[in-house]
């Protein structure tokens, strides 16, 4: 079976069981030391700087702590406080507003681009390269450039709108437009990423399916709906899962474009975690909010993995 990637075949299941067991070497001291020598360089940092802190974060979330004076165990009080505080709802709402604007924009744009670039096109790799360029740029540089483009006073976007007699909005200085500004910058940055994923998905679709659809008299629109979209669903699924995970963790661009403002209108969850920790010295509450965020991300991801059976078609 020739598949485009090794991920498609679960490696450990196909070989005969006996062969696998027979190949496992006896656990001599020399072999154990060899295994340790290969694993410890990665296991030590992961344990010390990911797993350990993960568990510690759970502990800290049950304490009152300002990072300086000793921790004080307060049980679930941080969680109770968070759930009672209306700001918690607000920061999640702002985060969801971000995702709701960003995901459709970046997906539809990325799909349109992938479909266009999947055709015989002059200079295709150059265009693809330009669309992808923002992906390799740092979030901070992107956020700063967009602050300048969307500068309400003499930014290029408002100047251009002015040519058509349109009085441009205040963008990131206006509470009603600040989140839209962040969404625009984010979609611009990630468009190329989504395009490349979907392009790879398009290229793995069996061309015979299109020939068969043509024979059946399907037009271009019908082929898109009945062949391309269903066959692309694994790539779409990947884009949606990754975008939601990253979307809930949105921070860099918010920090650099608005810092959560104006008037808290773009205060997202991670900005709130950052402010709680380093501005208000409420590390316990910040850890509790981190855990809430992690649980939400995990829940959303698990729901999608369960739900994928209904719409994702693996060839």
């Amino acid at each position: 079976m020739v598949l485009p990637t090794a991920v498609a075949t679960p490696p450990s299941r196909t070989p005969a069981r006996s062969g696998r067991n027979a190949r496992r070497p006896r656990a001599t001291i020399g072999y154990v030391l060899t295994v340790l020598a290969f694993l410890l360089p990665s296991a030590v940092p992961l344990a010390l700087f990911v797993l350990g802190p993960m568990i510690a974060a759970a502990w800290i979330s049950f304490t009152e702590w300002n990072l300086i004076t000793p921790m004080e165990f307060i049980g679930l009080a941080n969680y109770q406080e968070l759930l009672a505080d209306e700001r918690t709802g607000e920061v999640f709402l702002h985060t969801i507003q971000y995702i709701a604007g960003y995901l459709p924009l970046v997906y539809v744009g990325g799909l349109a681009l992938a479909l266009a670039l999947n055709r015989a096109l002059k200079g295709r790799s150059l265009w693809r390269g330009i669309y992808f360029l923002p992906v390799v740029t740092s979030w901070i540089a992107v956020a700063i450039v967009w602050r300048w483009l969307l500068n309400p006073n003499n930014g290029v976007v408002n100047l251009a709108l002015g040519w058509f007699g349109i009085d441009g909005p205040g963008w990131w200085t206006d509470p009603d437009w600040a989140m839209i500004s962040i969404i625009l910058a984010s979609a611009w940055k990630d468009l190329g990423f989504v395009m490349v994923i979907l392009l790879a998905g398009l290229q793995s679709i069996n061309p015979e399916l299109y020939d068969a659809a043509k024979v059946d008299g399907a037009g271009a629109w019908s082929r898109l709906r009945n062949v391309t979209i269903p066959m692309l669903s694994p790539s779409t699924f990947f884009v949606v899962v990754i975008s939601l995970i990253n979307g809930f963790q949105v921070f860099d661009q918010v920090y650099a474009m608005t810092g959560g403002g104006p008037g808290g209108s773009t205060q997202v969850v991670v900005q709130q975690i950052y402010d709680l920790t380093f501005r208000y010295g409420a590390a316990g509450e910040a850890s509790a909010l981190s855990w809430l965020l992690f649980i939400v991300i995990l829940g959303v991801t698990v729901i999608q993995i369960i739900g994928q059976k209904r719409w994702v078609h693996y060839a």
Partner: protein
Amino acid sequence: MHSSQRVRPRTVVLHVVVIAGALAMFFPFMWTFITSITPGAGFSITPRLWPEDASLEAYQTLFTERPFARVIANSIGLALVTTLAQLFTSATAAYAFSRLPFRGRGVVFAIYLATMMIPLQVLIVPLFAELKAFGLLNTYLGALLPTFASAFGIFLLRQAINQVPRELDEAATLDGAGHFRVFAQIVLPNIRPALATLTVFAFMSSWNAFLWPLVVLRSPELQTLPIALAGLQGQYTTAWDVVMAGSVVSILPMLALYIFAQKYIIQGVASSGIK
């Protein structure tokens, strides 16, 4: 029926749309550069597409009034160390997960992969406290240590090693080679493309990293480019030429890396999507 030579109007429209879109995508980069060479660009001065008195004044400000030479050196140094460390820890772990069977290996691999799901934000407070306890706040080592192992890198290299034919190892083993020699002389040379992909990704993510360096590196002379850039924006709120010069400095090396390694970057992203 028209001949195949004739250009169809649909093809023309497609080209126009794709090229116009690409120009629009590229415009912010161009505008960044133009602003950076327009002295005094800000609230009163709007840059022109062809600046009349272009100058590199803003870049001079970066390197004289702000420690940008040091900041660039910091970014390069940290990215190099992170990349080398990740290549080493990922390759060794990937070899173990591909070639060294042991009881419970599946569980250990699952735990490794699970660390990919944990958002950095959840770890910020305890990591900060941990490095404070080690006395590593505001040190390069403090910024580096949490980046040494990457589950993504391990996963990527394991896929590559799984595709190296086992007959190659077995032939070497018959010649008396142990695991260390098989690893260094057989496996590593055979996964060069994957190593190149990881190199590019590790360097890129270190170069662009923001949240962790922001938390751990507080003194100006230790900061990396994204942090210095964010600080620049706070300091020169109206001097857009200086801020944009800083952006250009942070973007250019990535642009160079991208031009040379486009193949590996696009392959890396594309292969992550096909499941």
